[in-house]
Amino acid sequence: ADGRTRFEELIAADDRVEPSDWMPEAYRKTLVRQISQHAHSEVIGMQPEANWIGRAPSLKRKAILMAKVQDEAGHGLYLYSAAQTLGTDRDTMFEQLIAGSAKYSSIFNYLTPTWADMGSIGWLVDGAAICNQVPLCRASYGPYGRAMVRICKEESFHQRQGFEILLSLMAGTPEQRAMAQESVNRWYWPALMMFGPPDDESPNSQQSMAWNIKRLSNDGLRQRFIDMLVPQAEVLGVTLPDPDLRWNEERGHYDHGPLDWDEFHEVLAGRGQANAQRLERRRQAHEDGAWVREAARAYAERMAARREERFEKVAS
């Protein structure tokens, strides 16, 4: 059958598209952009939490935090692999990240001044990520969907850990409770903005939904997230910093106050708390590691040559 027809059939049947299948250039491009952004987000997203590995206040928390940041590196790898099946290699994607021509999630341009931020990131940021990602497990592109399945499992674990950090703080001294509340105040709104601009300002969403990449609209996901948060906040005993937040019996959802999209665009334009720092740190690690990667490459070549020599000797 003709590639395009087959592609359209797969999409219509809500089946998976695989790397060997024909696909429209725009579909491929959209996916590469989205998956690599997602991968970059995992890698950059290691930094705000790595900031506290050295100072975690108990050995148990240190272990959990290390494991979590390690998971993020793993997610980065899954996603780079998925993107590579579309014909763009990791080095290229890395170069784009460092050059600043590729994006990553704006949320990681916020700082983590307190330990409570390890809780807020888990609860709010990973929470939002899960809402975003669960539908992506059914994304039409096979390697992407399958990567998301693995990632989602771990993310829900991360969210629970973040929740637990906040729970411990809220069960602690007044100082600890204040630390938790202050952190939630800082992360709440940026976490809501992780779902992207309102539907009427999200031009690419339509096409992504038609291709079964995106399943739910930005605003729909945001609503789902808020509805999930409110009861959890009650359990924690923290206040969500939105005076307009209230249950709407009619809609069966929580109503919420307006989001500050100027803030969102400021960060996107490079004027957030940590844009420069995040990229600087990634570039530094990449540059400092260049001689190591070269050594590994040279060694691998030498070993390959040696194997070949041996093979020739045996064969001759």
Partner: protein, 245 residues
């Protein structure tokens, strides 16, 4: 029992200091695979540290966090090699190469200790440090036989790290006081030397004997690097003593 606790404290401090050092690499490694590998090693060492420190603490009515966060420098028992700064990747690998060979030999014997708790911790740990050893051996070969630059850096790292190896193999009164329980460090030296020198030979490297650092970590005399490591590690816990997290 207090002697056993003192002994467990040494093992725990070595592992915890190393975990703290390696944790720095997470999000800074030369490639993502190494972020993961170094985090694995750090997590293993942290796990061993927690087991040893919990056991040590049980003799004194303290928990792992009391010991990790509320001891001052002279109360630590780590050997200096664990305290060495990360340096570049070559320094981290050479340090790892030395200490994981040491820990492998040590835990393999400790698994037969008359102290059942130490034996159980060691039996579990030895499988993990075996992986650490493989990891460091592979990297040592890659770096030593990779490029001119990586070979140069590896030689420097070997010169810088090797003076601290000797301290690991010194016996003392505590060891004498714990026959059948503690492993005698001096007895590990021959197999350590054999294993290490065969890798170094394959890598075309030679360890220098120009310096032998005096050490003293087992007696609470530490390198000039431990103080700032503890300052960072303990800062939050000490700002709010006695709290749960």
């Amino acid at each position: 029992p207090s002697d056993v606790a003192e002994y467990a404290l040494r093992l725990g401090d070595d592992a915890l200091v190393l975990a703290q050092r390696l944790g720095w690499w997470i999000a800074r490694a030369p490639e993502i695979e190494e972020d993961i590998a170094l985090a694995n090693i750090a997590l293993d060492e942290l796990g061993h540290a927690r087991s040893f420190l919990s056991y040590a603490g049980s003799a004194w009515g303290k928990n792992e966090d009391d010991l990790a966060y509320f001891r001052d420098e002279p109360e630590w028992r780590s050997a200096h090699i664990f305290e060495l700064p990360n340096g570049d990747f070559a320094h981290t690998i050479v340090r790892q190469f030395a200490v994981s060979h040491f820990q492998c030999e040590l835990y393999a014997r400790l698994a037969a200790s008359a102290d059942e708790t130490l034996a159980a911790i060691a039996a579990k740990a030895v499988k993990e440090v075996d992986y650490h050893r493989d990891h460091s051996v592979h990297w040592l070969l890659r770096l030593a036989l990779g490029t001119e630059e990586s070979e140069r850096r590896t030689r420097i790292a070997l010169d810088d790290v090797w003076p601290y190896v000797d301290e690991l193999f010194r016996d003392d009164a505590l060891i004498d006081a714990l026959p059948h329980v503690a492993v005698r460090p001096s007895e590990l030296r021959p197999s350590f030397d054999a294993a290490v020198s065969s890798v170094l030979a394959e890598a075309g490297l030679e360890s220098s004997t120009r310096f032998t650092a005096r050490g003293g970590g087992r007696d609470g005399i530490h390198s000039e690097h431990l103080g700032t490591l503890l300052a960072e590690m303990q800062v939050l816990a000490r700002q709010h003593p006695g709290l749960s997290w």
